[in-house]
């Protein structure tokens, strides 16, 4: 009983972390129609920057949350820079944009290796959440429950932005039909930069939040990117609800798969992705077909 409860809570936690990572990916994919293959790198860079800020890179040691937010802002700026300098030059050529993101992910991985070395860095849990919660005979680390809460709060904030603000309306219009959005007068290329920066920032934030659970190591980007891909394909591109539901599903498949069928763990993770792409390409909640 305790085993299943622990697995379930871990699945929901991991799902929450995946949501933070994939929400941005889904928006970028939906709006710009490219799978951003640097998304895993942004997750990793955000985590690395956060650990540096945490250990006093700016001269003062920041607390965990401030380090996460400032790291996220830095990654967002890097994302905006990449979009303006590289992706905008290749506007309209989706294949070239995908290849550029692939090349940049190589560069980012090596830069992180150069900057922070090859050893994994463990991130200390913020002291306020270092405790445990005892329930039903099981022990849950408070931090994992906090991650679920953070993911829910960010989901709500994103939903409010998308549904209730003008920017959100423009993003939704761009996702549904970029050409018509341009005709109506929405500056879609400016929107691209904003959404790319937003996605990058969310991924960077997720990286730091995931730090105490996953730690930070070279290769983190290659581990997280395929998971983000599966979430977005399952849930549907451009759909926030799709990302949310997809993250929870993938969190469950990943954790239960690792625990029950360790030999086929990755197989049962990627098989739904292939089936969805082959049978229902728009995913569970996606609007337009890829």
């Amino acid at each position: 009983m305790t085993f299943w409860l622990l697995l379930t809570v871990n699945s929901v936690t991991f799902g929450g972390l995946l949501f933070l990572l994939s929400a941005g990916f889904s928006l970028i994919f939906g709006l710009m129609r490219i799978p951003n293959l640097t998304h895993g790198s942004m997750f990793m860079v955000g985590a690395y920057l956060g650990t540096s800020l945490l250990s006093g890179a700016l001269g003062i040691t920041l607390n965990f949350w401030l380090a996460a937010v400032i790291g996220a802002v830095e990654v967002a700026l890097l994302g905006a820079l990449m979009e303006r300098l590289l992706l905008r030059r290749l506007a309209g050529q989706q294949l070239a944009q995908v290849l550029v993101t692939l090349g940049v992910s190589f560069m980012a991985a090596d830069l992180c290796l150069m900057g922070w070395g090859g050893d994994p860095i463990s991130v200390a849990t913020p002291p306020a959440l270092a405790g445990f919660l005892r329930f039903g005979g099981a022990v849950f680390p408070l931090y994992r429950l906090a991650v679920i809460l953070i993911a829910a709060v960010v989901a709500l904030a994103l939903w409010l932005m998308l549904e209730r603000t003008r920017l959100g309306a423009m993003i939704r219009a761009g996702v549904d039909d970029p050409q018509m959005a341009r005709v109506v007068g929405i500056r879609v290329s400016q929107l691209f930069t904003i959404v790319f920066a937003l996605g990058a920032g969310l991924a960077g934030f997720a990286g730091m939040i995931g730090g105490p659970i996953l730690s930070v190591y070279p290769g983190l980007d290659q581990d997280m990117l395929p998971l983000a891909l599966v979430v977005v394909i399952l849930g549907g591109t451009g759909s926030l609800l799709g990302s949310f539901v997809g993250s929870i599903i993938v969190g469950f498949i990943y954790n239960f798969g690792q625990a029950l069928l360790p030999e086929l763990a990755y197989f049962i993770l990627f098989l739904p992705m292939v089936l969805v792409l082959a049978l229902r390409p728009q995913g569970l909640f996606g609007g337009q077909v890829l």
């Binding site: 129609r33 490219i34 799978p35 590289l86 030059r89 290749l90 050529q93 989706q94 294949l95 070239a96 995908v98 290849l99 550029v100 692939l102 090349g103 940049v104 992910s105 190589f106 560069m107 980012a108 991985a109 090596d110 830069l111 290796l113 150069m114 290659q222 990117l225 395929p226 891909l229 599966v230 394909i233 360790p262 030999e263 086929l264 763990a265 990755y266 197989f267 993770l269 990627f270 098989l271 992705m273 292939v274 792409l277 082959a278 390409p281 890829l290």
Partner: protein, 326 residues
Amino acid sequence: MTGRRIGVAVAILALIAVPFVIGEVYYVNIASQILLYAIFALGLNVLVGYAGLVSLGHAGLFGVAAYVTAYLLAAGYGHLVAILAAIAAGLVVTAGFAALALRATGISFIMISLALGEIIWGLAYRWISLTNGDNGISVATRPAPFGLPLTSARGFYDATLVVFLVAVAACAIFVRSPFGAALCGTRDQPRRMNTLGYHVWMIRFWAFMFSGLLTSVAGILFVYYNEFISPQALALTASAEGLLMVISGGAGTLLGPVIGAALVVIVKNVVSAYVTRWNFMLGAIFVAIVVFMPEGLVPGAVRLWRSAWRALSRREAAVIATRPQP
């Protein structure tokens, strides 16, 4: 035409002479690596360059052949059986890939191929009872075709060269055949080809199978070269490097993937001895080529050469025109 034939003959002679000119075993091994990765790149190029379908999962096909070879050799079977079984397994998996991936084109095709490649990698990485996981499978001996041993660097290079020349010849015949022309047609104008009566899916399927065959052959050469196979060879990075080879050299050309493979292998093995951040360099070269020379190095170099030639002849003609008449 005879100029081209002389060029081809010279190139073949140069390749044969490589182990004699380059004495050191290390560099002969690099040359073998270039040739086997060139076969991989040629296989990928059939899809990326001629069919217009970018695949990010080809390392999976590469790995299936390599793993089947290694597994059967470890189980005690002979080399011929292992190689034939590996090619057969590679073709079967390629057919599966094609059946699933060819339901889409463009970005969807990339995503499906990526997912399929990741599935193969996940099986290799986690199905430890079958593949030994991260520990990999070692291959004890190399085959000795017609009694000639391949244990030395030179011997292996010669065998790889033969296979490479056969692969290049096969690709050349393929590209110049009516099937190759039809494939290029499906890349450029799939709907028009459909209207003309060509079975676009079938054409793409058989191109995929040919690509899978070349990739499987490269995988078998890889496992004999390294005498070891591990999941790292199937990872997304391996597929990305393959794509880098094709795109940097020039997708849709015959020589492009070979040059691209040479570029990537040399940066990975030779340049890495001098430049610690060679991975960064590889990524930067890739980004630079995609942004500035998207058609690849070979067509880009040809383009630059032609424009320089034209500029030179234009200047000459202008000089002649402005010379005072006698």
